[in-house]
Subunit: 338 residues, 2 copies
C-alpha cells in the first residue's frame, strides 16, 4: 500500500484536504509558508497523487493510445520512439496496443478505448481493415484520432503519411534507369492506401518510360513469410524472370533477399532490387539493395504533435490537418566486405 494520500498528508500537517491539494497545485490562494511546509511533507511522505481519482474528477487521463499492427518491425518501432519523445515532453503516458495485423483485434482494442481511458489515439490500420466504424464511433464519443502511415482511403481524416506515390514512381524509375527491362512489383493484398499508392507510382513510371504494363508482374503477397517466399521463388526461378524488383514493403525486400541467397541469384548483378524500408534496416540489408527510407521517427513525432494539437484545441477532426513527409532514396555504395 502506497497509502500516502491527501487525507494523510492533511492530518500530518494539521490542514484541510483542500488546502493541501491547492498548495500542491501551487494555487494563489495559499500562503507561501504553508506551501513550503506542504511540499516538504509531500516529499518526505513520498506522496504521488492517485491518477484514477484525478482522472475521474478532471475527466482527463493524460494518456494517449498507440495502436499499431506489429512492433517487431523497424518502422513501427522507430515511430513509437518518436511518439514517446513527444508524449514525454507533454507529460503524457502512452498505452501501446498491437493488433497483430488482425482486424478483430483492432476493433475490440478500439472499443475498449471508449470509456475515457485515453485523451487521444494514434493508429496505423491493419492490413485487412475494411471498415473504420469502430474509429469513427470512438471519435464521435469525444476522442481525437490521428491516423499515421496506414491511413483510411477516404479524405476526411487527420493523417500523417509519406509521399508513397512519388516514391513508388521514383523507385521504379531508379530500376528503369539502371537498365531493367522487366520489373516486378511485390505488393501486399488489401486496401491499404500506402501499398495502393506505391503500386500506382510503379505503374506510372512504366507508362512514363513506355514500358508495357504486365499484370502478371504484380505479385500479391500476404502476411505469411513462407508463402511470400514461395511466390518470389517461383517468380525468380522461371526463365524470363524479371531483372528488377520493386518491393513495396520492407518485409518483402527481406524475403527477396532470402530467396536470392537461396537460389544463388546475385543482387544486383542478376536482379536489381529496390525497396521501402527505413534507415536502420537499410543499413543492415545487403549493400546491394537500394531502399526508399521512410522517416519513421519523424512520422511518429509529427503524428503525436498533431494529436496533441487536437487534444489541446478540443478539435475532434473538424479542422482536418494532413501532413505528408518526404522519404528519401538511399543507394549504398557497394562494399568490399562481401
Amino acid at each position: 500500500m502506497s497509502g500516502t494520500n491527501l487525507k494523510k498528508l492533511a492530518e500530518e500537517l494539521g490542514l484541510s484536504i483542500s488546502s493541501v491539494s491547492k498548495a500542491l497545485r501551487d494555487s494563489y490562494e495559499i500562503g507561501s509558508e504553508t506551501k513550503k511546509r506542504v511540499l516538504a511533507m509531500a516529499e518526505k511522505m513520498n506522496y504521488q497523487p492517485n491518477p484514477f481519482a484525478r482522472g475521474l474528477r478532471k475527466r482527463k487521463s493524460i494518456t494517449i493510445a498507440v495502436v499499431i499492427p506489429e512492433i517487431a518491425n523497424n518502422f513501427f518501432a522507430l515511430a513509437i520512439d518518436g511518439i514517446q519523445v513527444i508524449a514525454q515532453q507533454k507529460g503524457y503516458h502512452v498505452l501501446t496496443y498491437l493488433t497483430q495485423e488482425d482486424f478483430k483485434n483492432e476493433e475490440s482494442t478500439v472499443k475498449h478505448l471508449q470509456g475515457g481511458r485515453v485523451d487521444g489515439v494514434l493508429i496505423s490500420l491493419c492490413g485487412n481493415t475494411t471498415s473504420i466504424k469502430h474509429l469513427t464511433d470512438l471519435n464521435q464519443s469525444g476522442v481525437p484520432v490521428v491516423y499515421f502511415d496506414r491511413v483510411p482511403d477516404m479524405l476526411e481524416f487527420p493523417t500523417v503519411t509519406t509521399d508513397d506515390y512519388e516514391c513508388g514512381l521514383k523507385a521504379t524509375e531508379h530500376l528503369i534507369l539502371a537498365g531493367c527491362k522487366k520489373i516486378a512489383c511485390l505488393c501486399v493484398a488489401g486496401f491499404l492506401s500506402t501499398t495502393q499508392k506505391r503500386r500506382l507510382g510503379y505503374e506510372a513510371a512504366l507508362v512514363k518510360h513506355n514500358i508495357p504494363f504486365d499484370p502478371k508482374l504484380v505479385i500479391q503477397c500476404s502476411n505469411e513469410n513462407t508463402a511470400n517466399r514461395a511466390l518470389i521463388k517461383k517468380l525468380l526461378s522461371k526463365k524470363g524472370r524479371p531483372d528488377g524488383i520493386f518491393a513495396s514493403v520492407e518485409k518483402l525486400a527481406i524475403s527477396t533477399y532470402y530467396v536470392c541467397n537461396d537460389i544463388k541469384l546475385n543482387i544486383p548483378k542478376q536482379v536489381k532490387v529496390v525497396s521501402f524500408s527505413n534507415l536502420r534496416t537499410a543499413s543492415l540489408l545487403s549493400p546491394s539493395l537500394t531502399t526508399i527510407a521512410q522517416p519513421a521517427f519523424e512520422i511518429g513525432k509529427a503524428s503525436a504533435e498533431l494529436l496533441f494539437r487536437m487534444i489541446e484545441k478540443k478539435n475532434l477532426g473538424n479542422r482536418i490537418e494532413k501532413i505528408v513527409l518526404q522519404s528519401s532514396l538511399i543507394q549504398r555504395k557497394s562494399s568490399a566486405a562481401q
Copy 2:
C-alpha cells in the same frame, strides 16, 4: 462526450444504478430477464465502463508498465511483442516508457508509477543505472517489479535473463575453434550484469584454451555509435590487429560490420565476428557474422507471465523466482548472393 454511464443506462431502463451494475457483472442477484434487457441496452448505447471510476473504487488498474532503455532495437521490440501477447490474454493494458538509456529518466518515470497507475512493472535497467532505490521504493509501495534482461547485480530480485556467461564462453570458444589467435571483446561500459557476465565468459574461454588474456583487447564502448566506430576502426586498422571479434551486444556487431565494410576488411576471411543478437537481425546481418541469438520474444512472455503470477498472488517479491532462458548460437551457411 461518450456520456453513456451507468446512470443514463439505469434511467433508460427504469432500474437503479446498482442493479444495472450488478447485471453487467453477471451477479446472481439479478434475474435473467433483467440481465438480458440490461445487456441489450448497454450494447445499444455503446456503454463502456469508466476505467478511472472502476480503478478508483477497486484499487486496481488492470494495467502494467514496461520500462525499457530504447525501442528501436530488435531485442526490446520483440520483448515488448511477447509482453503484449500475454497482457492481452490477461485483459491487461500496457503502458510503455522509454528511458533513452538515461538514469534520470528512469528514476522519474518509476516515481510517477507510485500513485497506483499500474498493478505491476516490467523493467530493463538502463546502462548507467547504479542505484535501484527508486525501484525498491516502488516495490515497497505495493507494486510488484520484474526485471528482465538488464537486471540488478544483486540476488534478491525476480528476474528473467539469458545464460550470458555460458554464451560469452560459447561465443569465444567458437572463435577459438575457428582458428582465431587474437580475440578482442567489445563491451559496453557500466554495471550491467549482462555485459559483465558475457565478458567473464569471454575470459573463461581464453583461460580454458590457454590463451593469455590481454586487457588491451577488451574495448570499453559507449552508447555513441560514432565514437564506437572510431574505437573499432582504430582496433582493426593497426597491424597486429585481432583476427576475431566478440561483440557483446548487437549494436557493436553492426558497428563492426560497418567498419569492416569501410576499411575493406573481409568477414570472415580476415576477421571473424561473433555477436549477441536475435533471430531477426541475425538474418539481416551479413551471413558471415555468427550470432548468439537471444530468445527475445520468449523473454518478454516469460517476464509478463512471472509478473502476472506475482500480481495474482499479491507477491511483492517475497518468494523470488528467477528464470534463465537459453540463447542459441546461430551460424549461417555462407551464401552465393554476395
